[in-house]
């Protein structure tokens, strides 16, 4: 748990303040150093095929990827918790209909829905995360619903009703605090999913647009050049994988703690 947390903190801090400390920005071109190897003077990670500093691009790319991921995961948190809590709390046919809807969406090919959205509404970064968030809430909704149903059957909810608490108060004072832990765990598990989708879209040329960059774009550029400059694939790829693994490990640990 400590190691992944440290990794995550390191990556986040570097992405946040790193770009400001570097002499190069993600789109500035050093004409004297096109496609140089890592550890070259002035270019710690080397440069890409048009002479842009890879460290600066990797840090900016991480920042964009993380920003999209956190925004999208938050959208999924909001929709998922609201949907799941309402379905679980209401129960009966409304619950059944709401969850059938979730089942139906589950059967949709996610990624293709997002791509459809991108194609239809154009490629904006806002749309990337709204779109991803809007399809990633399903798991959250299922988990929250399950949790609410379990909690609802606990007698302390009945005791609160006997104590005269109205449904809204029971929801806010009893249900949501008890759902929060699991929701947080799944939020953390959603973030890597979103990072993956964002990178994937960018890799296909449908996500973030040049010259702005993201980890997915960097990996794609690296992959195109890997026979002559493998570092351009390995460095951003390494950051991406470290990010995903850390988030997954932390999220799984929290999930096991809270849903037991």
């Amino acid at each position: 748990m400590k190691l992944p947390l440290a990794f995550l903190a390191l990556i986040a801090v570097a992405a946040l303040i790193g770009p400001a400390l570097l002499p190069w920005s993600y789109d500035s071109i050093d004409w004297n150093a096109v496609r140089v190897a890592p550890l070259s003077p002035g270019h710690f990670f080397g440069t890409d095929s048009v002479g842009r500093d890879l460290l600066a691009r990797t840090l900016t790319g991480t920042r964009i990827t993380l920003a999209v991921a956190i925004a999208a995961a938050s959208v999924s948190l909001l929709i998922g918790v609201a949907w799941g809590a309402i379905a679980g709390w209401t129960g009966g046919r409304i619950d059944e209909a709401m969850m059938r809807f979730v089942d139906a969406l589950y059967a949709l090919p996610f990624m293709f829905v997002v791509i459809l959205l991108m194609v239809v509404f154009g490629r904006s970064i806002l749309l990337v995360f709204v779109g991803i968030g809007a399809v990633e809430w399903l798991t959250m909704a299922r988990v929250v619903r399950g949790q609410v149903i379990t909690l609802k059957a606990r007698p302390f909810i009945l005791a609160a009703e006997a104590a005269g608490a109205p449904p809204s108060a029971i929801m806010i004072r009893h249900l949501l605090p008890n759902v929060a832990g699991v929701a947080l765990a799944y939020l953390l598990l959603t973030v890597p999913q979103v990072v993956m989708i964002e990178s994937f879209l960018s890799f296909l040329g449908l996500g973030v647009q040049e010259p702005l960059t993201s980890l997915g774009i960097l990996v794609k550029e690296g992959a195109d050049d890997m026979d002559i400059a493998p570092h351009a694939l390995l460095l951003p790829g390494g950051v991406l994988v470290a990010l995903l693994v850390s988030l997954t490990l932390i999220g799984e640990r929290l999930r096991d703690r809270f849903s037991g």
Binding site: P155, L158, A159, A160, A162, A163, G164, A165, P177, N178
Partner: protein, 501 residues
């Protein structure tokens, strides 16, 4: 040679000793009962030597002369398979869900090396444990069977390979009262007929006393004698029908009138109709009076009580409190809920795990009254807890303490009626006894009317003047407690009385 001989047996779990030095021996056809409260080490001491619990056994335990303690897992596995049959507490989960009854019984039959049984042999094996329609059962999966049927299948499987020793770990605890008696009688009969040595584990001293040749009482891993205070407390803890009638406060004027209550639930799925849980039930309750709603699981007793307290649905019927009709669940105002407060079965699940005890108790107060802390402290004292409990969280409480907190919460707005929904049945025997004492004390001091939901007649009688017996959503018999117990008229009541000690 004894079938099973235990000398100086110890059991430790994770380095902590939970059983310290037990000795007994068991001959063919004999029954020894190990009795104690939960945590006394009774299950560990009978399972650990065989290597099927988390405990590690020390000392000596000899099965037909072969030492089990320290033997390799392969040796113990062989001895278990050939000579021992096991029955566990949870009939609902102890059978493998994806294998048919026939398949599991056949596996038990061949475990000691016997040839594959014929279909007929399996039918006969189920017949021996008094299971009718054995032909159909063989092809069923466990989830199609009732708890009692599953426990009989477990017994049939446990004796299918003709073991010398039968180990029964709380075989009846999870069953309804009438079933408990039948299963114990069945075990006794099999022991006689097959010459089995029976090692019976239970928390209920009186229930096993009539079946066992010797009873060993365990207290925190130590054997204690029959006159030890713990043994006496254990004996006194569970109320008996043979106890003298309890001293109850005399009832006052009429408080609550309930008539024609009907409760239906939709069956799961879209178009499966409705299921009638309570069918035209009527009752009344006076000040300071105790009324017990008694019945088996699924008889509708909890549903009726919750409908009355406006904590559950109700499709038809009237509830009046002191002559005023009580609004429906959705229309009732918080102040109108104060007169009847519930205490539920599972004490830990009754308290919000995120809240502190003080906030839990004060929840019904709604508005922060200036004397909040004083009242909380007084209530904690009234239910026998110190003021230091106010800042604890439910996870830091034992079952008994949690139930005391739940009772304090129920009392905080001075109700006239307590709804006790199996309030003691999830607790350990000794703890349950003390909670019953507390409730009796409160009943006297506060002149509380009590609506007591229970599956146990003897427990219900401790607090109740009258008993109403429910079956399939209807009240089938109602009357003064002593009359119901001494002269039950309805067959359902007769079964209940016969099954209670």
């Amino acid at each position: 040679m004894s079938v099973y001989q235990v000398a100086g047996l110890t059991v430790s779990i994770g380095g902590r000793q939970v059983v310290a030095g037990i000795d007994f021996s068991l001959e063919a056809g004999e029954c020894v009962a190990l009795v104690g409260a939960s945590g006394s080490g009774k299950s560990q001491s009978c399972l650990a030597p065989f290597g099927i619990s988390a405990g590690i056994a020390g000392g000596s335990a000899k099965l037909l002369g072969s030492e089990l303690v320290g033997a390799s897992e392969a040796t113990r596995r062989g001895l278990r398979g050939r000579h021992v049959g096991f029955i566990f507490q949870q009939p609902m989960t102890a059978l493998t869900p994806h294998l048919t009854i026939g398949r599991q019984l056949a596996e038990a039959w061949t475990q000691a090396g016997a040839a594959k049984p014929s279909h007929r042999a399996l039918v006969e094996a189920l017949g021996r444990v008094e299971l009718p329609r054995a032909e159909e059962l063989l092809d069923q999966y466990p989830h199609r069977l009732s708890g009692g049927q599953r426990q009989r299948v477990m017994i049939a499987a446990a004796i299918a390979h003709r073991p010398k020793l039968l180990v029964a770990d709380e075989p009846t605890t999870a069953l309804d009262a009438p079933l408990r008696r039948d299963v114990l009688a069945l075990l006794s009969r099999l022991r006689r007929e097959e010459g089995l040595a029976l090692l019976l584990v239970s928390h209920d001293l009186a229930a096993v006393a009539e079946h066992a040749d010797r009873t060993i009482v365990l207290n925190e891993g130590h054997m204690v004698g029959p006159e030890h205070p713990y043994t006496l407390a254990l004996r006194a803890a569970s109320p008996r029908l043979s106890d003298p009638a309890p001293d109850l406060p005399s009832p006052g004027g009429s408080l609550l009138q309930v008539s024609g209550v009907r409760v239906e639930f939709p069956r799961p799925g879209w178009r499966r109709g409705r299921f009638l849980a309570v069918d035209g039930a009527s009752l009344d309750l006076a000040e300071g009076e105790g009324l017990a709603l008694v019945g088996g699981s699924g008889s509708g007793k909890s549903t009726l009580a919750r409908a009355i307290a406006r904590l559950g649905p109700m499709q038809a019927g009237n509830v009046t409190f002191r002559g005023e009709p009580l609004p429906s669940r959705n229309a009732i105002r918080p102040q109108q809920r104060r007169f009847i407060q519930p205490v539920f079965q599972d004490p830990v699940a009754s308290l919000d795990p995120k809240w502190q005890v003080a906030d839990i108790i004060a929840e019904p107060l709604r508005h922060l009254t200036p004397d909040r802390d004083v009242r909380i402290e007084a209530l904690l004292d009234e239910v026998g807890l110190g003021p230091e409990y106010a800042s604890r969280r439910p996870a830091e409480l034992s079952g008994g303490q949690a139930q005391r907190v739940a009772i304090a919460r129920a009392l905080v707005c001075d109700p006239q009626i307590l709804l006790l929904d199996e309030a003691t049945s999830a607790l350990d025997v000794l703890v349950a006894g003390r909670i019953l004492d507390l409730l009796a004390e409160l009943q006297h001091r506060r002149r509380l009317a009590i609506l007591f939901i229970s599956h146990d007649l003897a427990v219900a009688r401790r607090l109740c003047h009258r008993i109403a017996v429910m079956e399939e959503g209807r009240i089938v018999e109602e009357g003064p407690a002593e009359a119901i117990i001494s002269a039950p008229r309805h067959p359902s009541t007769q079964r209940l009385v016969a099954a209670t000690h």
